[in-house]
Symmetry: C2
Subunit: 216 residues, 2 copies
């Protein structure tokens, strides 16, 4: 039995691959593992059956036999530990790749999500014009630091790893902000991730869900 | 040679154990490993020597032989993988403990940091009174979900793990918000973590750094 992940029945991103199931789909495609998908509605995500899988009522979740996991970082790491292709075999390089996973989720993503939330929910507020540049600058600081570390390399630390997978999915959330255009090397890094065949397969799979929901 | 971590030369939290080196100190104390500390100034954190260890110019970093790591999640996981006491031996329970580490850092911490940043830097802004309740409610939502999952248990999933360590340090950042008082079981969970001898040793060690800096 392949593992089962959950995803939005009707994704608010309209199939642009911004929902967090994209990370897990991409990881499974990179390691060549099939998976099943169970679609959940926003209402169902807050019901006991789903909360038993994820106490915070979010997608994706991951079920494999008697294991149930939540948090994309943990799910991708679990997959990467059990299948080749997402973590280096050298112990130090492996620890550094995991550091990039945490950096993507705990250092890079918070200011990006905060900017995205403001752009979605505070656009009509009196303070929006004053706060927006502050939020953009926080993201710019991180993008500048990331650009400096990349230093023209293809990936963050040697070969493509789960760290790059997480970082690319986090950076893709900037798509409507215009900020990536200010850092062409970071934009090229994201494009490099998006060009991977495993990314394309994962993207097409989540897009197909949205297109089927739109037709029904 | 024990590993070397970095910490603030002069912590802005005045020794209350809110700086992120506390997580690494606590983890090392839990597994009984000695460590050295190198103190860095705010200016030094943005210099090339420190940026080589952490491209985002933050503390703590972790150096052990030819390995250099950043991100507290990655450092604590690295320690937990190499020494007993912070991760269950059962494979599924181990993956779930790691999920709680990511939940602490990627689901719980972002709204807590956002609230803390607003309380620090936006208190004088015209919008503070209107935004504050919104930020508080986002944290309340997560605290309620965490409380429901705890369900009166001592720890998040069986015995104390690296997941609890990260969650307790994240929740401690709420200390000046008053929100923990609204969730007595979560407050008791934090107090349970703080009562562990390893926490006390780590806390005292970082407090001693602040006290020495204050005297000099």
């Amino acid at each position: 039995m392949p593992p089962t992940i959950t995803a939005f029945e009707n994704s608010p991103d309209r199939g642009r691959g911004q929902a967090r199931d994209m990370r897990v789909r991409w990881a499974l495609e990179e390691v060549g593992q099939p998976y099943d998908v169970r679609l959940v509605s926003f209402a169902a995500m807050k019901q006991p059956a789903h909360l038993a899988l994820n106490p915070f009522g979010q997608i994706p979740t991951y079920e494999d036999g008697d294991l149930a996991l939540f948090e994309t970082g943990a799910i991708v790491l679990h997959i990467a530990e059990r299948h080749g292709g997402l973590l280096p075999t050298d112990a130090n390089a492996r620890s550094r790749a995991i550091a990039w996973m945490f950096a993507a989720l705990n250092t890079m993503e918070p200011p990006i999500v905060e900017l995205g939330m403001a752009m979605l929910f505070e656009r009509d507020k009196s303070w929006y014009a004053e706060r927006l540049p502050m939020l953009q600058d926080r993201v710019r600081t991180r993008l500048g630091e990331l650009s400096r570390r990349l230093g023209g390399a293809d990936w963050l630390d040697g070969a493509f790893s789960a760290g790059d997978l997480m970082m690319v999915t986090v950076l893709r959330r900037l798509n409507t902000s215009g900020l990536l255009d200010e850092y062409p090397d970071v934009a090229a890094y994201v494009a490099r991730g998006e060009a991977r065949p495993a990314f394309r397969r994962a993207f097409d799979a989540q897009l197909a869900v949205f297109q089927a929901a739109s037709r029904s």
